[in-house]
Structure formats: C-alpha cells, structure tokens
C-alpha cells in the first residue's frame, strides 16, 4: 500500500469521526457563544485545541475569569491521557516516520482517532494517521462555527439532548469490543468502578475530574495487563520491520494485509 493510498484510507476512516464530532462541536460553539465569547474565539479554540473535554473545561474557566495558571493546569491534566495514547501510537507507528510527520500527526490524536487507529491491525503509516485527522478537524471546526452562529435558533430541548452525543459515541466505540472480549469488558468495568469510587467517596473529593480519568485509566489498564496479558503475537509486522531485512518484511506483508481486511470486515468500523 503506497502512501497516497494510506492517506486516502485515513480520510475514509475519519469520516464517521468527523460526522460524530459535528453535534459535539456544535454544542461547544453554542455553549461558548452563549457564555459570552465571540464566535471567532470559539472557532479559534476549536482550531487550535481539537479536543472535547479539555477545551470545554478551559473555556468554562475563561468565562469564569480564572487565571492563566489555572486554565493551563486544568487543561493539561485533562489532556494528560493523550500522553498514553501518543506513547501507544509511537509503538505502532512505522519506525521510518520522520519528526515532521510525527509532529503533524500528533495534533490529530483524540480519543476517537486513537481508538480507530489503535484497533487497526498492523503497522500504522504516518500518511494514514494524517489522513485520519482531516475529517475530524473539518467536523470539529464546522460544528463549532455552526453552533456559535445558530445558537439562538435551537430549541432548548434539543440543546439539552445533544449533550449525550459525545458519550453515545464513546459507548459505540467500547461496546462492540467489550462484546467480543471478556478482557476488554473487565477493563472497562474496572475503569468505571474506579472512577465512581473516586467521584463518590468523600475521601477522594480533592481529586479533580481530569485526574480521576487518569487514575482510573492507569488502574484499569494495569489490571488488564496483569490479569489478561496479550499474546506475544500481536506485533508481528512491527517486529519484522524493526530487526529484519526488507525481504522478510515483504514476505509478511501479504499475510498482514489479508488479516487486516478480514478483521476489518469483522469489526464494524466502516459499518454505516
């Protein structure tokens, strides 16, 4: 698969994400503008941040008149989970990817692009990841602009209903995997249980919502890695590329492609 093909495939894989971002970004634009920000500031935030939870929280603090340090620290804490995702992607990314490509694709790491790309078997190509962020960026910015401009026109009942859109997308991402794998199901259960403990036990009330997510993620992933370690098999393509000669890589390629297309049929990422 050449690079242009990988880029096109990334764009295709990003379409559902971009569409899914529309209502969420719409909500963001709406909330930011109704809170008193000009539409162009809301658009600028979406353009430069490309994240949901972090920019929602940061914008709330801006509107509340918080200081620079508070805005920066809160946003950072919420976004720390991207370090785990970025680290995980660095394991799956083709090793030949240059620094400029890495810096570009890093901008597009979100919960959804990460899940979509990390569920893709085999080595990840930089053009695929860069293609993958195109539609989400368009959706995120278009949604923000629309929400900012149209906020006065939306009936209130629909506004409140749209709040669930982001979570419904998260559910759509985890449920199929949980259905297929008991290990994934347990990891999700531990993550949710941990977050609930931290949220509802008064002892832990000093922990911010961003840290709750981080702690629950680390605890649940560690639990999964301890109780259900993955087979040593999962990175055959990466192993081959790393140590071995080009011939060996070429031999393994068709196999990987076959497995890839088969698995793609099985899990319904492009399924609507």
């Amino acid at each position: 698969m050449d690079r242009r093909q990988a880029f096109a495939e990334g764009i295709r894989a990003g379409i559902p994400i971009g569409l899914g971002y529309l209502p969420v970004a719409f909500t963001f634009g709406f909330l930011a503008v109704s809170g008193g920000l000009p539409v162009w500031i809301a658009a600028l935030i979406s353009l430069t941040n490309l994240t949901s939870a972090g920019q929602f929280a940061g914008t709330n603090l801006i509107l509340a008149g918080a200081g620079y340090f508070e805005v920066a620290l809160t946003t950072l804490v919420i976004n720390l989970r991207y370090m785990l995702m970025s680290l995980s992607l660095s394991q799956r990314l083709e090793r030949t990817a240059g620094t400029a490509a890495r810096m570009a694709l890093a901008f597009g790491i979100t919960d959804e692009t990460f899940v979509v790309s990390s569920l893709r078997p085999g080595v990840l190509k930089a053009p695929y990841l860069i293609g993958l962020m195109v539609m989400p960026i368009l959706g995120w910015n278009a949604g923000t602009l629309l929400g900012g401009c149209a906020y006065a026109l939306i009936p209130e009942a629909l506004q409140s209903a749209m709040g669930i859109g982001l979570y419904a997308m998260f559910i759509a991402l985890i449920i199929p995997a949980a259905r297929q794998s008991g290990a994934v199901c347990s990891v999700i259960a531990v993550a949710v249980a941990t977050v609930c403990l931290l949220k509802y036990l008064p002892v832990f009330s000093f922990i911010s919502s961003g840290f709750r997510i981080i702690i629950a993620t680390v605890a649940a992933s560690a639990f999964g890695a301890w109780r259900f370690p993955k087979e040593d098999e999962p990175q055959p393509a990466a192993e081959a590329r790393e140590g071995a000669d080009a011939a060996q890589t070429a031999r393994q390629e068709p196999q990987a492609a076959l497995r890839e297309s088969k698995e793609k049929e099985e899990n319904g990422w492009n399924g609507f």
Binding site: R81, Q91, I164, I175, P176, Q235, W269
Partner: protein, 103 residues
C-alpha cells in the same frame, strides 16, 4: 480580549505537548509484554472512565440520560456506527424530554 487570547494559546500548548512529546521522542519498541498489554487496554479504559458515570448527567434529567444511554448501548451492541448511535441517543433523549415535559 488579550487575556482570552493568552488563555487560548496556553490551552493549545498544553493540549499539543502531551500529544507530540511521546510520539516524537519515544521511538524504540517496547519489549515488555505487560506494558504492551497495558497500552492496548488504555483506549477502552479511558473511554469507559470518560463515559460512566458522567453520561447520566449529560442531559436535562437523569431519566432521559438513562434512556439515551440504553439506546446507545443497544445499538452499539448491535454493531451500529458512531454517528448512528449518537443520533439515536440524542433522538431518544429528545423524545423522552418531550414526553417528560408533557406529563
């Protein structure tokens, strides 16, 4: 306005740094089976922790949020795509709020 622009720049910076540093600086493959498994489970753990229990407070009322969540779980279980699930959940919440408002 200047304060707002500085805040936006700070937000952009602290959003980009966690994304860019690991993938640019950390290029060696990880050998440890534990760490590789850990990283494989991370997306599910993050999304689970982000979704529950906060989803139940994401709409005007608990009952509509529960209804929307059940709709999303049901459609997700049947393998529907992201947008279909999101639209169905929003529609479910909207209808439930309408019914709740009428009662």
């Amino acid at each position: 306005m200047e304060r707002i622009l500085i805040c936006v720049a700070l937000m952009a910076l602290v959003t980009y740094l966690p994304r860019v540093l690991p993938v640019t600086l950390f290029r060696r493959p990880i050998r440890s089976r534990f760490i590789r498994s850990f990283l494989d489970y991370t997306p599910y753990a993050v999304l689970g922790a982000l979704t529950f229990p906060d989803v139940f407070g994401s709409t005007g009322h608990l009952y509509s949020a529960v209804g929307g969540t059940l709709a999303a779980i049901w459609l997700g279980y049947r393998g529907k795509g992201l947008l279909a699930v999101a639209v169905a959940a929003i529609a479910a919440v909207y209808v439930l709020e309408l019914i709740g408002g009428a009662l």
